[in-house]
Symmetry: C2
Subunit: 284 residues, 2 copies
């Protein structure tokens, strides 16, 4: 299959943007990178993630497709500034981890837009963390809506497929509900666990808990000890779905608590069995 | 330092009992093992975890110290049957993961008792999982009470120290509160997470969540997908401390939920920061 070589713009040269650049450039596309920092632009060119880089959005005028890879809060403001420089034929996509708010805000501003979310996050961030083949065998969600041009879907799908990612299509709201269950809710659940432990009023017990904590606590508390700015962004941009998940979670927690209060060990065991049985459907 | 070689009884030849046997036998102690199953007795002798083994509790008559290594629910019933065979000088200890109820039940039955809890659990169980040096650098909690004879404490402490474990002393109730925070609460928190996800009513969203779940969900849900019988035992034998932890946890979860409802991103970020900062005090 012969592939069209395109001019592809990447706005935001961090882990995702920098990694995208590596893979797309190695396929022969011409990569135009934009970052707010001159030092990041220089680094991205030096490591070979992009062909050209600039702090000026006008570099993207030549792009046929633009990936917006900034933090969530900057996606819409940056798009608003960027569109003055683009040809109306330019296809725009983003990589934000929440979709409904973003898609709703962008669709009246730019017709040729399709929301996206590669699930390839890592702990490290920044252009220094960029790597080749980051997206191979990773999920990549695309969230077209009724008004999204078929051509925009086709072009972005082909690019994403070339990264080796597994593509999933859904509505923006479905994406947000799914990630609220498996990504955003776990952060709040896990952070609350640490907070609860810290409320222990007997200093001897708190110290003992700290000494005795091992792999179970380590795993359950990991995402609650992660990047706080990222946690807030999840809550801000996926507020509605997250609140819905939290409310449901509270219900399930109350159910277990009531069973323990009532010493209903038979049903408690059934509940624990059913969650143990269901877990491999999520992580195998 | 010269060490006294003793007759040491082990009641219950699973992961913990079998591993104890290996280490104590290699120090020259004479190990008497009792299991409910003849096949386990034969296996324990064959692999060299014990010198002698029997399904009959009378084998323990010669023991100077007995470790009760049965599941939690069997500790008190087995002790009740066992004591008819013991000399009053025999020191008894257990390895149960909850202490207050056990210590309270045993202290009127046997003076020479000290509660213990080695934190060396693994996923595998049974005599097949027994291994040498399981307790090295692992916490081992001892919970003497006012009436515990000093000699019993000294003897058990010396044995536990010889395993290479890190010894912590505390009251049974303090132990139970500490493990409810870092071991028992996480199971309920984690199981509720899986249960909440399963409540999703849109089958497309549930399937998408299952496809998109990665390391964050894997870690947060791990202990909730564990052994259900063990989860019930924790709840049964540490009910009071666990209910207290669950109540506090619910409070912390409600606090985060309210901040998200009120869009108070500044305080939400402070909360997430503080839990991130506190986590290394538990797991470093």
């Amino acid at each position: 299959m012969s592939k069209l070589k395109m001019n592809i713009g990447i706005l935001g040269l961090g882990l995702i943007g920098g990694s995208l650049g590596f893979d797309l450039r190695s396929q022969g596309h011409h990569i135009l990178g934009v970052s707010r920092r001159e030092s990041t632009c220089q680094k991205a060119v030096a490591i070979g993630s992009v062909d050209e880089a600039s702090v000026d959005l006008s570099l993207l005028a030549a792009a046929e497709v633009v990936f917006i890879c900034t933090p969530l809060a900057l996606i819409v403001p940056q798009l608003e500034q960027m569109i003055a420089h683009l040809s109306t034929a330019t296809i725009v996509t983003d990589v934000g981890s929440a979709k409904a708010q973003i898609v709703k805000a962008i669709s009246p501003l730019w017709d040729n837009f399709i929301g996206g979310h590669p699930m390839a996050g890592r702990t490290d961030s920044g252009i220094e963390a960029a790597q080749r083949n980051l997206f191979v065998d990773k999920p990549y969600v695309l969230t077209p809506i009724a008004t999204t041009p078929t051509s925009a879907i086709a072009v972005v799908e082909e690019i994403v497929r070339s990264l080796g990612a597994n593509i999933y299509y859904c509505q923006p709201e479905q994406h947000d509900r799914a990630v609220s269950w498996i990504s955003h809710l776990p952060v709040m659940v896990s952070s609350s666990l640490i907070a609860a432990c810290l409320s222990e009023t007997d200093p001897d017990v708190l110290e003992l808990a700290q000494k005795l904590a091992s792999s179970g606590f380590r795993d359950t508390s990991r995402v609650g000890g992660g990047n706080p700015e990222l946690g807030v962004m999840m809550a801000r941009y996926n507020r509605q779905a997250l609140l819905r998940s939290l409310q449901q979670y509270r219900h399930n927690l109350d159910e277990l608590t009531n069973l323990i209060e009532q010493e209903n060990w038979t049903v408690l065991e059934q509940k624990l069995k059913s969650t143990g049985k269901a877990r491999p459907d999520f992580v195998d």
